[in-house]
């Protein structure tokens, strides 16, 4: 039907439905491409870490150099919290897929609380770590990687907060849960990235 015929009938004229040429959902694909880009951003920070710690002729023999030290144990507990929150996120998503609304909301709130606890612990860690951004390249790398990750946790928490608000208003159902799935994918990415950051900065 042409635009003319349409106008003559004064019908609502929307676009023709696009042909779906891939089995992948556009939103999920978009999220994965965004995460690929994000992984490369972390990659540039890890490259800086690699230069400072490995390539640089004046690289410190001890990590972190004397007299500083990283709170490996506290950060380890924090890691456990964040990894657990990935499981509760998954539980929440599975619950809404099965239509169990209470379990979904409980899972989302648990995830949010754990993410928030992680971020709060990191702020406290920054205040008590005993060095500042200007105290050498090791500190640059430490604040760079953990700070970049912290910013991602903050974005993730915002997304989770939106899911909770909309969840309480009953906007998700077994048929419509993309709004839960996409922040979930992002949250898992943030968690996996933290394991890499924790291993690189604190452990090895």
């Amino acid at each position: 039907m042409s635009a003319h015929a349409e106008a003559a009938h004064h019908e609502h004229h929307g676009p023709p439905a696009a042909h779906q040429s891939s089995r992948v959902d556009a939103r999920v694909l978009g999220m994965f491409l965004f995460i690929a880009s994000e992984a490369m951003l972390f990659g540039s920070f890890f490259t800086a870490y690699f230069f400072v710690r490995v390539v640089n002729p004046g690289a410190p023999t001890e990590w972190p150099p004397e007299p500083y030290h990283f709170p490996v144990f506290v950060a380890g507990v924090n890691t456990a919290i964040l990894v657990t929150s990935s499981f509760t996120m998954h539980w929440a998503l599975q619950s809404i897929k099965r239509g169990q609304r209470t379990a979904f909301l409980a899972g989302m709130i648990l995830t949010f609380v754990m993410g928030f606890a992680f971020l709060l612990t990191q702020v406290v860690e920054y205040l008590n770590v005993g060095f500042n951004t200007g105290d050498g390249a090791f500190a640059s790398v430490f604040f760079g990687l953990t700070g970049l990750h912290g910013a991602h946790v903050a974005v993730g928490l915002t997304l989770l907060g939106i899911v909770i608000v909309r969840g309480f208003r009953g906007h998700y159902s077994p048929e419509h849960h993309h709004g839960v799935e996409l922040p979930g994918i992002y949250w898992h990415f943030v968690d996996v990235m933290w394991i890499v950051v924790y291993s690189a900065v604190y452990l090895i």
């Binding site: 635009a3 106008a7 042909h19 694909l29 990659g43 540039s44 230069f51 760079g144 939106i162």
Partner: protein, 654 residues
């Protein structure tokens, strides 16, 4: 014939959805409705909020002085203000509605399509409008960047200091390069592709129209940020568009505008690229397999992959420099344990792939133009697509050829030289394929074709000097001379800019529904072609004789040639005036264009000029390759039968 041109003019508004009627008066809507006015005051308001936040936090931690102009500018003017502006013009309206937990609004398409010129200054979700917004914006910044080039060419016309001081000279050179790269070549390609790619795919729009609108509006922010650097104490950023550390770390405040401007331009690029990838993967018309996609779509597919993977690295590099400058970190300061050369590695890991980001879409445009105008199928279609992928993969393995003289590890040189020379193979395949496509074709030498042919010849010259520079001994001799300037302009001006001109002329009738003036177009081409060569070819010679780049002064011996180069560059600048005149007059009162003046097969030419608001009334069925010119009975696509029927009726009436 499958379509007519009579949708143009008075009929253009038909079929458009009703605009949402605001419940308030005109003045209220003007000030508080989404638009540039609200954008301006919201930007100003959040600058204040940002400044307040900085002062409050500094006071809380007891850092004196509480007021630090540099930090306030970074947080208030370069981070908060753009977000406030974007919110003000209405980029976030739909999302904020969603976030606040209200039920999703059904899409009313009121932000779709343009009825008057005012609609181009609003957030618009129509990929055709966004494409034109991109092109007009990028040509605006192209003009400014070009005027800067005129200014420093005037300075370089004779040895010694005449018009500007040395820091301003370096600032002009740096901002010129930055605008041309981040505000012209990369987004101009994004604009052309925004217009053409969804049409070529048989899709009603891009996959994420609101994201598409947002990625356009990030661009003027980045451009104004680069320009605003002229206004702060110390002048514009002056360490080149490469902004090498540690030079960039000791620069005045203007450098921070570069650090942050790149973030906004980069975010824009990544969003668009992501949008293209999702659109190309999920929204192809039935029958449009990957091996039936036009090469422009292939080119944007590979370019978008490059953008998504590589652009975060320049973001990282500029973050590190900015942190070193304002947070006193030591990423690139050796005295604090940083690694100076790290900057160049991280920067070039983006910026070498970036030269392919600035070239591959041009390859796509030229493939469209040459095949259509030579009336022949493109030679070696699959190899053309595969060579794009070859460039994509190899492009990530050559970055350190920019660093042969930088003092990096010696063992890295030869591997980088080999991969660099290898890139000539897929690129050579493309040049030979274009030549073979032309062979015994029925060539129409109109303006797009002239620019396409000009591109092929100029790009071969730039490619050959690239092969010289890729080999270590010659690079060591020619590094930091005008030979490099000649090379980059043969590749980026004779290459990319020629393809942008080819693309603008080629799609101009489709975009505007009007025809440009062919005589003025040809005059523009020949004047550009001759003055371009007169400007940049002598630079090879003065470069090899040892004239260094990025210096306002030079030896007396180069005086005459530089005077000649400057005069030629002014002619080159003047040739652009012809283009602007041609485009503006043709757009307003040029003759009405046919729907398919080039008799092309690709889908964008099978709809009216300009295309209907939702591109297709029904999604077409693709049945063959896109370039089967001169092949009896070959068809690329079948448009909906109902539409063909109506089109025939309209022809009878006309």
């Amino acid at each position: 014939m499958t379509a007519t041109h009579d949708q143009h003019g008075g009929h253009a508004a038909e079929g458009y959805p009703e605009h949402f009627e605001p419940p308030r008066g005109r003045a209220w809507t003007m000030a508080f409705g989404p638009g540039l006015v609200r954008g301006a005051w919201m930007a100003l308001r959040v600058v204040g909020l940002g400044a307040l936040l900085v002062v409050a936090l500094r006071a809380w931690w007891g850092w004196s002085p509480y007021w630090d102009t540099h930090i306030v500018l970074v947080v208030g003017a370069m981070t908060a203000a753009p977000i406030g502006f974007l919110a003000g013009i209405g980029s976030f309206d739909y999302w904020l509605h969603y976030v606040s937990g209200r039920p999703t609004r059904p899409e009313d398409h009121s932000g779709h399509g343009a009825r008057t010129w005012r609609d181009y200054f609003k957030v618009n979700t129509d990929h055709k409008v966004i494409g034109i917004q991109y092109l007009v914006t990028t040509f605006f910044f192209f003009t400014i960047g070009g005027l800067m080039a005129m200014l420093f060419r005037a300075e370089l016309a004779q040895p010694g200091l005449q018009f500007v001081d040395s820091q301003t000279f370096n600032g002009l050179v740096s901002v010129h390069a930055t605008l041309m790269i981040f505000l012209f070549i990369i987004p101009a390609f994004a604009g052309l592709a925004n217009f053409a790619v969804p049409l070529m795919l048989g899709a009603p729009d891009m996959a994420f129209p609101r994201l598409n609108a947002l990625s356009f509006w990030l661009l003027p922010i980045a451009g104004l940020m680069f320009l605003a650097s002229f206004l702060v104490p110390g002048g514009a950023f002056a360490s080149g568009w490469t902004a090498y550390a540690p030079l960039s770390e000791g620069q005045p405040m203007g450098q921070t505008f570069f650090n942050m401007g790149v973030q906004w331009a980069g975010a824009s690029s990544i969003m668009t690229a992501l949008n293209f990838l999702v659109t190309i993967i999920t929204m192809r018309a039935p029958g449009m397999t990957f091996w039936r996609m036009p090469l422009l779509v292939w080119a944007n597919f590979t370019t978008s992959l490059l953008v998504v993977i590589a652009t975060p690295f320049i973001a990282g590099s500029q973050f590190f420099v900015m942190f070193d400058r304002i947070m006193h970190t030591d990423f690139f300061t050796p005295e604090g344990g940083g690694y100076v050369l790290g900057y160049q590695h991280i920067f070039w890991f983006y910026s070498h792939p970036a030269v392919y980001i600035m070239m591959l879409p041009g390859f796509g445009i030229v493939s469209e133009v040459i095949s259509t105008m030579a009336r022949k199928p493109i030679f070696g279609y699959r190899l053309m697509a595969l060579s794009l992928i070859g460039i994509l993969v190899l492009g990530f393995s050559v970055w350190a050829h920019h660093m042969f003289v930088a003092g990096m590890a010696d063992w890295l040189r030869v591997p980088m030289m080999i991969t660099t020379l290898l890139i000539a193979v897929p690129t050579g395949i493309k040049v030979f394929s274009w030549t073979a496509t032309l062979w015994r074709g029925r060539i129409r030498l109109n303006t797009p074709m002239l620019f396409a042919l000009g591109f092929v010849t100029m790009f071969v010259i730039g490619g050959l000097s690239g092969i010289y520079l890729g080999s270590v001994p010659i690079d060591i001799h020619a590094s930091d001379t005008y030979f490099i300037v000649a090379h980059i302009h043969y590749v980026l001006f004779g290459g990319s800019v020629f393809t942008i001109f080819a693309g603008v002329y080629y799609w101009f009738p489709k975009m505007t529904g009007r025809m440009y003036d062919e005589r003025l177009g040809k005059l523009h081409f020949w004047l550009t072609f001759v003055s371009f060569n007169a400007t940049f070819f002598p630079m090879h010679y003065v470069g090899l004789r040892g004239m260094p780049r990025r210096v306002f002064d030079y030896a007396e011996a180069f005086g005459q040639l530089n005077f000649f180069i400057s005069i030629a560059s002014f002619v080159l600048g003047a040739s652009f005036v012809i283009f602007v005149y041609n485009i503006v007059t043709s757009w307003t009162r040029g003759p009405v264009a046919e729907s398919n003046p080039w008799r092309a097969h690709t889908l964008e030419w099978q709809v009216s000029s300009p295309p209907p608001i939702f591109n297709f009334d029904e999604i077409p069925q693709v049945v063959g390759g896109p370039y089967e010119y001169g092949v009896p009975g070959a068809r690329h696509a079948v448009m909906s039968p109902a539409k063909e029927h109506v089109a025939e009726q309209e022809e009878v009436h006309a």
